[in-house]
């Protein structure tokens, strides 16, 4: 109990930037890490990235005996935080809480100061966020194929609400429209909460994202599919999009911790091992499941492949949607 409180206190002080005032550091004779970590969170407190970074920072501090100082740099959909991160020393002591958007989406739609292929490396898979396609019951469709049929019969009738332009949700809508050969109208909102509310009130008919799950379980929305080739245990009755008749890659959302690619490989490996050990513990897994994520362990090579695949696949959708940044 006492250690727990001290850890929480440290995490709290860390986000204040006052960690230096508190705490004793156990002097561990280790090559790495030998100093404190800076953990850049490129979003405002309260979101999924913040929730993840709080638990990961706390555990990393406990595992290494070093302080982990959370540094919030929100804005421009994450680009401000990523650019700020590029300015930090590539020594393995600066971490970036990130999603696949930093590899597949943001560099294509916003001006950034990094190359997703050569400058940043995703260390671990913290979890996949199930992208659930939800529809308002007022439309009267129960499956993805029925939705396509409805959209063909009633062109211009269906709109989908997203948390903003150029987000994974937006691109998911573009993907659904492409694959179904139908026309869907995009309505951007400020954040997932507003978008979900619009779908509940009937202002928009579709919403794509993990936030829909609770409302599907409560019977307020109908789940048409979970993007990808696997069902999600949180919504066992909702088929995957592959099962629903749309084969192949689907837009996805996953969370990771990123480091500079310039960090020496042994350090990357050491960090990845340390973080994966945290991710493998039951209580962390349990917490991530409660956040609505699907945890899993993926090695460095596997993460690189995920990032590079997303860059190509999202790139196609971004071009189709006319979202690509003019360089």
């Amino acid at each position: 109990m006492t250690t727990m409180t001290r850890r929480t206190l440290l995490a709290g002080a860390g986000s204040l930037g006052l960690a230096g005032v508190l705490g004793l550091r156990p002097a561990l004779a280790q090559a790495f890490p030998e100093k404190d970590f800076t953990y850049v969170i490129p979003y405002t407190p309260g979101g999924m990235s913040d929730n993840i970074s709080r638990i990961m920072g706390e555990r990393l501090a406990a595992a290494t005996g070093k302080k982990v100082i959370n540094d919030y740099k929100a804005g421009a959909g994450g680009a401000i935080g990523a650019n700020y991160y590029m300015g930090l020393k590539p020594d393995g002591y600066s971490l970036l809480q990130s999603t696949n958007s930093f590899y597949g989406v943001i560099p294509a739609v916003t001006k950034v100061e990094y190359d997703p292929k050569t400058d940043l490396t995703p260390l671990v898979l913290i979890g996949d966020a199930p992208m659930v396609i939800a529809v308002s019951p007022s439309v009267g469709v129960k499956t993805l194929q029925e939705l396509f049929a409805y959209a063909k019969k009633n062109p211009g009738k269906l709109a989908y609400a997203t948390s903003g332009r150029g987000t994974v949700g937006h691109l998911s809508g573009v993907w659904i429209a492409n694959r179904g050969g139908v026309d869907l109208l995009h309505i951007p909102y400020n954040g997932a909460g507003e978008a979900l509310q619009a779908c509940l009130s009937g202002e928009a008919q579709l919403f794509i994202g993990p936030e829909a799950a609770e409302h599907i379980l409560a019977g307020k929305l109908i789940g048409l599919g979970t993007m990808g080739d696997k069902r999600w245990s949180g919504l066992p009755d909702v088929p995957s999009t592959v099962e629903a008749g749309v084969p192949g890659w689907a837009p996805r959302s996953w969370h990771t911790i990123t480091v500079h690619s310039k960090v020496p490989d042994p350090v990357k490996q050491q960090l990845a091992t340390a973080v994966n050990k945290i991710l493998a513990s039951d209580d962390v897994k349990d917490r991530l499941v409660k956040f609505g994520l699907i945890p899993g362990i993926v090695d460095l090579a596997g993460m690189r492949k995920r990032a590079d695949d997303d860059l190509v696949e999202f790139g196609v959708l971004i071009k189709d949607a006319g979202l690509a940044l003019k360089k």
């Binding site: 409180t5 986000s15 421009a76 309505i187 509310q197 409560a218």
Partner: protein
């Protein structure tokens, strides 16, 4: 059946809320909230973000009660600096500055603080009851508000802001125009175009709110005071007189409290600008209803009572979308969903049925929290007012440092500090040109929201303007706006015609 479940729910809630641990944390939350509300710059969002990890050591109910206490405690505290120092720390206390600070100048600062505290308590009590009684019903109402309704409501707010102007209407319109332009800065949500960003990353998200208000109100006021060598005045404001409102002041304030509460209850439900809209609208309505002798802006107790009651009532009802639908209506509520997730509670429409002790416990603790805030704040009035006895030559540097540290700590951005300085200079200039900052601030906040809602309404209606008149709530609001506009314009048209005929 309905009454039964309500009584049972409230009984359960109070049982949870009066648990000694929960009471203690409720008190702590309220105390912290009051203090950070008093500190300009540092707001409840930053504080809750900092304290969030600590709540993981508490039970879910105690954790949420603490955070909720900080949130509405800040609404109480936020009025203190507005009234005493002309320094609104929160968006919702911007209008409180107008009459609140004027009362301080007349040596009635203590009375203004007491009115704000009592008004907030009344509003909080009604707000809590209101949530308990109508939670499921109001959840439906929230969903009735679509883009069209929001747009018209914002338009109503903008027209009402002209009423805020104490001097020339033309100058107020100019300030609204500047506020709208400031509001345009940043990335356009629909097209992704950058507007007025001049290649700066810091401006991609638009101009930040706190530097704008602290600059325009607080810093500008200090500059003017420097110029006038106001130290001579210190002793006068320091003569505080009675801390309690006189009978006359109470008589002015009481009906304003009731009207403000009613407005806050409904506007607080709306996401985004709810709390802000409620204080602005309450002030505007009050000015229309009870400003018979032109006392508004010169220290009218009603001008303090209405917005303060409204923002506190709004603060209570803004919990409703979160508790009934799991939808956060502002940044603080988003953090509350984070706090729930830390404890493994998934925010959503099932909270009320799956977590009845959390739902009712939080509601009951809100009322207890409001009572505590009254107990904390009334004795503090005497202490805060002592601040005015400090010589300005000492007080002003302190205010300056505390504000700038607060602003820096929001995003750790030096850019924001420079912005504050720039807005301070602008505020000084505006004072020289007799232009008022309140309409500018309202337009700054409402402008971008109006644009977004308008464009969203157009998307929803596939470009058909009829959406604004086809939907009953939207049409009603539109008619009220038109009537208000006519009311404002009429005297000017009349005097113009008289002049025209005379020539």
């Amino acid at each position: 059946m309905f009454d039964q479940s309500l009584l049972a729910g409230l009984a359960l809630g109070f049982q949870v809320a009066v648990d000694p641990t929960n009471i203690l944390f409720c008190f702590l939350g309220c105390l912290i909230g009051t203090l950070i509300g008093v500190l300009p710059g540092l707001g409840p969002t930053a504080t809750i973000a900092i304290l969030l990890p600590m709540t993981s050591a508490l039970s879910p109910v105690a954790g949420l009660i603490t955070l909720a206490g900080i949130y509405y405690g800040a609404q109480y505290g936020g009025s203190t600096t507005s009234i005493l120092l002309r320094l609104p720390g929160e968006a919702s206390s911007v209008v409180t500055v107008l009459d609140g600070h004027a009362m301080t100048r007349r040596g009635r600062g203590g009375a203004a603080l007491a009115i704000a505290a009592w008004g907030s308590f009344f509003a909080g009590t009604v707000g809590t009851l209101f949530i308990a009684l109508f939670a499921p019903l109001l959840a439906v109402l929230v969903l009735k508000f679509g883009a069209a309704e929001y747009f018209v409501l914002m338009a109503l707010g903008l027209v009402a802001s002209v009423v805020l102007a104490q001097g020339s209407v033309l100058r107020a319109l100019a300030m609204i125009a500047i506020g709208l332009l400031f509001g345009l800065v940043g990335t356009d949500a629909n097209s992704g175009q950058y507007r007025f960003t001049f290649g700066s990353y810091e401006l991609l998200n638009g101009l930040p709110f706190v530097p704008l208000v602290v600059g325009l109100f607080g810093i500008a006021d200090i500059l003017i005071a420097l110029e006038q060598a106001r130290d001579a005045e210190a002793s006068q404001a320091g003569k505080i007189g009675s801390l309690w409102p006189t009978r006359e002041e109470t008589k002015r304030a009481a009906p304003a409290v009731a009207r403000g509460t009613l407005i806050g209850l409904f506007l607080g439900l709306l996401p985004g600008g709810g709390a802000l809209m409620s204080s602005f609208v309450a002030y505007s309505v009050e000015k229309r209803v009870s400003d018979k002798e032109g006392t508004f802006g010169k220290g009218d107790p009603a001008g303090v009572a209405a917005p303060e009651s409204a923002n506190n009532a709004g603060a209570q009802t803004s919990f409703l979308p979160l508790l009934t639908l799991g939808l956060p209506s502002n940044a603080v509520m988003a953090l509350m969903t984070g706090a729930m997730l830390i404890h493994g509670i998934v925010p959503g429409p099932r909270i009320m049925t799956n977590q009845p002790n959390l739902f009712w416990g939080l509601i009951a603790s809100m009322w207890i929290g409001n009572l505590m805030l009254l107990v904390i704040n009334l004795p503090l009035v005497g202490i805060w007012v002592q601040m005015l006895k400090i010589r300005y030559s000492v007080l002003y540097p302190i205010i300056l440092v505390v504000s700038l540290v607060g602003i820096y700590s929001v995003d750790y951005s030096t850019f924001d500090v420079f912005l504050t300085a720039a807005f301070g200079l602008l505020g000084y200039g505006m004072n020289k040109w007799k232009c008022e900052p309140a309409p500018l601030v309202l337009a700054f906040v409402l402008g971008p929201m109006m644009e977004q809602y308008f464009r969203r309404a157009m998307l929803v209606a596939r470009g058909d303007l009829a959406i604004f008149v086809e939907r009953p709530i939207s049409l009603t609001l539109l008619l009220i706006t038109a009537a208000l506009l006519a009311g404002i314009a009429a005297p000017h048209v009349r005097s113009f015609r008289r002049k025209a005929f005379a020539e």
